[in-house]
Symmetry: C2
Subunit: 361 residues, 2 copies
């Protein structure tokens, strides 16, 4: 696989910082930290943050006892450390030499970090740095796309293998575990899954239960595995046995909506237009009120990221965006059907993985 | 088991809010949300938050398609919903009738939520609400202690079972998985573990590797399972075979430090004093420079929470606090020894679980 180019990312953000007259960009452990500095750390109550400076080299602040771990797993060769009994925010301020007027915060930074930093820089302006880093992350380069294709393939194979081995009486939770296991045995990385049977599938995001698979049950599997932290997000809805006429009728509508969205998605098109294209198909078929969520979301190091494919988002799609295409029709107390795949945006957008989804008998 | 009393918690926080002249307390999905409103949700880019109001009933804001899930899994009977194409912050503002001058934010609230909320309330003062909710969470009632005793017992049993079944050649990662499996089979809930062998144990927080267990290896297992989201956090350091004289000598010092800290911990004692009590023992034995971290931290719905047992924390311990007691001596390129248990603070503090840790031959 091609290497991920962290240096290029940091240089690009540094240029954007200069352009926006930002003195410091503060990035605590988060997906943005992983993207920029390679380390996949959980945030904790002990201050750790990478700081990109307009007028100086980037620095990493961390507890002194973590120094070895920090240099081993990030792009930093050195660390500005603080001892357990010290005020880490004072250490941070002392490590910054420039005159700080404007500070951009990584958007998921806990309020507490902002609040304590503001005490050290009471005159500085604090802004949400999301507009810089999120756009950057939404444009995938070839090394990232390579990883997303691999995670997509492993996800599809894992879901199909799970469906192949379904048995009557298995619960949602049991099927969920099997799906995770199948995907992880292919990818070697963590996997997630949602499994819903019959009327449960009509509640998007509903939790898995002990509901059992029966002959001719509708089953919805929404799942993904990773490749070096890059996610896939695929939903397959099928029938364990023979599909009813109503299922086939609704399925056909959702499938047409999914195709219409793929056709509409391309570089320069306002994101909401892709949602409208799918919604129009479902509205025209009379199921509009059962399509209760947006069409999709960007995908990458997070399962939900920019660009959001939703009414109101008029930002044009960019070449290199990857977004889900997941129209659904949810008929309460009956079933829900969602067809979801992942699309790479270009002059002609394409599915990252294609496969035959008509698995019922 | 006794029921957790969410109503009492909310009423208590509401009183504290009045006392501090706070109009709104904003709580997005987080551990504090779980504590206050029962739901264990992941935070996402779609705004969800519980709002405790000084002058009105608490409300929950959530996406309209999540309404059913939200009422099912939280203490709220109703939800103020926003549609995919709406501005959730405008919906929030419209749902609040009072004059908002001061807003407390749950301390882990992402900067982005603060930043968007501030645009709706440009004149309001925003403060970190951590000082109210964290103190409250640090004082465990009998229903909480019951759960923590259960998670402690299951953790100890799981660790001891793992040690009993150790075999030469097993890797840190393999032992880690076994420990998780043992604990989870007892608790029925998720478990976590760190396993370090020989010189790896000298790096606190180091990640698990493929390093193999050998005859007479030092092995450190730091692990915990949960009981209804309440954590345990226990570390056992032992030898797979015969302990060396150096190991026994260092072990004895760490054990004495652990005992000294337990004796010092009681209601009203400044938290840092408990750290000092253990550190004094280790300093006097000449190993001071190898005890590189604080003595401990509070424990509950998070593995790290208030009170922190660290130099500089002069806050008195409170009856009902639960904190770890985890002195350690880490000798680079040799081994590290940490003895960790969980202490319930009272006039006489006690270990939540006691057991024989001398497992080597």
């Amino acid at each position: 696989m091609k290497s991920l180019n962290f240096e290029e990312r940091e240089n690009k953000l540094k240029k954007d910082i200069e352009k926006n007259d930002i003195d410091l960009f503060i990035i605590p452990p988060s997906v943005d930290f992983l993207y920029m500095f390679k380390g996949a750390f959980q945030i904790s109550e002990r201050l750790v943050c990478g700081i990109i400076q307009k007028d100086d080299d980037s620095i990493l602040i961390a507890p002194s006892f973590e120094k070895k771990r920090m240099t081993k797993f990030t792009t930093f060769d050195d660390v500005v450390t603080w001892k357990e009994e010290e005020d880490p925010y004072a250490v941070l301020r002392d490590a910054i030499s420039c005159n700080v007027k404007k500070i951009a915060m990584e958007p998921t930074t806990p309020f507490e970090i902002y609040s304590r930093l503001k005490k050290k820089y009471p005159e500085a302006e604090f802004i949400d740095g999301g507009f810089l880093i999120r756009k950057m992350r939404s444009i995938k380069d070839s090394a990232e796309i390579e990883r997303m294709e691999i995670s997509g393939e492993n996800t599809v194979k894992g879901i199909l293998k799970t469906i192949e081995n379904l048995e009557e009486g298995l619960t949602e939770l049991e099927i969920l575990k099997r799906a995770q296991k199948e995907m992880t045995s292919l990818s070697g990385e963590p996997s997630w899954a949602l499994v819903q049977i019959d009327e449960n599938s009509a509640m998007p995001h509903g939790p898995p239960s002990n509901k059992k698979l029966q002959k001719n049950s509708v089953i919805l599997i929404d799942a993904g595995t990773m490749c070096e932290y890059y996610f896939a997000d695929i939903t397959v809805t099928t029938v364990f046995g023979k599909a009813s006429e109503e299922f086939l009728k609704v399925y056909d509508v959702v499938e047409q909506a999914n195709d219409a969205a793929l056709l509409k998605s391309k570089t320069g098109v306002p994101a909401e237009q892709v949602d409208f294209a799918a919604r129009e198909v479902i509205d025209n078929a009379g199921y509009g009120k059962y399509f209760t969520h947006r069409l999709g979301h960007g995908l990458g190091l997070e399962v939900h990221e920019n660009p959001y494919i939703v009414k109101g988002n008029k930002d044009p799609l960019l070449s290199g965006n990857v977004h889900t295409n997941e129209p659904g029709i949810y008929i309460p107390n009956k079933f829900g059907i969602r067809i979801e795949d992942d699309i790479l945006v270009n002059k002609t957008s394409k599915r990252l993985v294609s496969f035959d989804r008509h698995i019922w008998s």
